[in-house]
Symmetry: C2
Subunit: 272 residues, 2 copies
């Protein structure tokens, strides 16, 4: 990581994202001066893990030394908090949301706004190597962009300037690749359980699927009954799903989508 | 792996599955005596990589020393090949298909039939550590079951007896976990490309999704706008997919399926 000037940073929010970002930034030499949460208990839980941080329940930061304010709160609360926050002139205020545009911060008096979005799911109990996590940066002004990129480079190898429109499309892509994929893995485990099989049985195959997708366009290595137009197997599978009409519908939709994509000229694989 | 008695094995088929199984079995001390393919070129390509194997285009093995015959050919050809194959009495004949029942082999005169199914996708160019690949075994007779399990244990740490019904359900589960997941990863890469973003950007997030699914029931760690019933984000995403009506439909179906599953009492996560 890049060695950079130590910055004085205030965190708004003490949830999973703040938890990991604040500790990583403190470790790399920045000074986290305060952690805001709606409750004192919430802010203390994180602030007391950081050497220089005061817990607070006030959004008025304009008497503090904060140079950069990072907002990591639920999307729905973002507009309200942005309206209430007070900072001293020249402060950089950035939110950390993947799905919200930069404009969501509105006009915070005296502030230069930006986005500082770490592309990863966080949970407090699981340590994450932030160095490998892409951080996507956007700002209203060029100098703020550079400041946020420099901050990002102090904790991650992978920093990209990405505007709000592209970030929104990225979020949509993540819904397909992660949220929807997770749901399919859930269905798969449910089916294994119903057959009395261990749920980890498919893990090597799943890992292989992901590894392949990392190397080649997944469309070109698609395998299975759908892309083979194997009507017998597809019918048998739909029959097996009779007790789960919702899964039956999903199976049919995904099969059609794979076949439609196949028509558009991507080649088919042969296994599974 | 278990050190076992060296067996004389004939392979029917010289495709990806035979390619990996035959070489692994030869390496561990078994004798691959012949490789059948419809063309001599096909059978030679594999046979010449094995110390003791004759290439052949004949399914009449009843003058050979084969004790075990492993059939690894496309599902559609299985019934026809099973009708034509000739073996000497007492030979074990097993197919390697995940989706076909044991009964697909019919009655091969003198043979005791079984299934020897390695649960992995194979491609000739990519080496695979078979030791980590589960091998699912089924047989008409107890002694054949033991023979095939012993053979499997000589190349894999993970051998399970699984009957045809459970194996078919496993195959269905694999379609969801691998084929359908691969398609979603393809969609995700397409969306990233459209936004001018690097396709590998989501890889850390995807790996984290898989790692989580390996540790917990995916239903209980589901995240995203669907499980949060975040109507604003869902509407925005559907709007963004307007140019892709098929993806729009798929997004809607998966969202409903996640929400239906959520109703059945699985708890929701908060990120992405």
């Amino acid at each position: 990581m890049l060695a950079v000037k130590s910055r004085k940073i205030a965190f708004i929010g003490a949830g999973n994202v703040s938890w990991h970002l604040a500790q990583a930034l403190a470790t790399t030499g920045h000074q986290i001066i305060s952690v805001y949460s709606r409750t004192m208990a919430g802010s203390k839980a994180l602030a007391y893990r950081l050497p220089d941080a005061q817990p607070t329940t006030s959004l008025d930061l304009h008497q503090t030394e904060a140079e950069i304010v990072l907002i990591a709160i639920p999307d729905a609360a973002l507009a309200t908090v942005a309206e209430q926050i007070k900072v001293k002139p020249g402060t950089v205020v950035a939110h950390t949301s993947g799905s919200q545009p930069l404009s969501m911060l509105g006009n915070i008096a005296g502030a230069s706004t930006g986005v500082f979005y770490p592309l990863q799911t966080f949970s407090k109990v699981k340590p994450i190597d932030l160095a490998q996590v892409p951080i996507l940066v956007e700002a209203t002004h060029e100098h703020t962009q550079l400041e946020l990129e420099e901050l990002a480079l102090s904790i991650s190898h992978r920093v990209l300037p990405v505007d709000s429109a592209a970030r929104q499309q990225l979020h949509l892509a993540a819904v397909f690749a992660c949220n929807f994929t997770n749901h399919l893995l859930g269905i798969s485990q449910q089916l294994l359980q119903e057959a009395g099989l261990p749920t980890e049985l498919l893990l090597p195959l799943i890992k292989e699927t992901i590894a392949k997708a990392a190397q080649q366009n997944p469309y070109t290595v698609q395998t299975g009954p759908a892309i083979r137009h194997d009507a017998n197997v597809i019918q048998a599978h739909l029959q097996m799903l009779q007790r789960h009409p919702d899964l039956q519908a999903l199976y049919q939709n995904l099969t059609v989508s794979i076949q439609e994509t196949g028509k558009k000229g991507h080649s088919a694989g042969t296994t599974i």
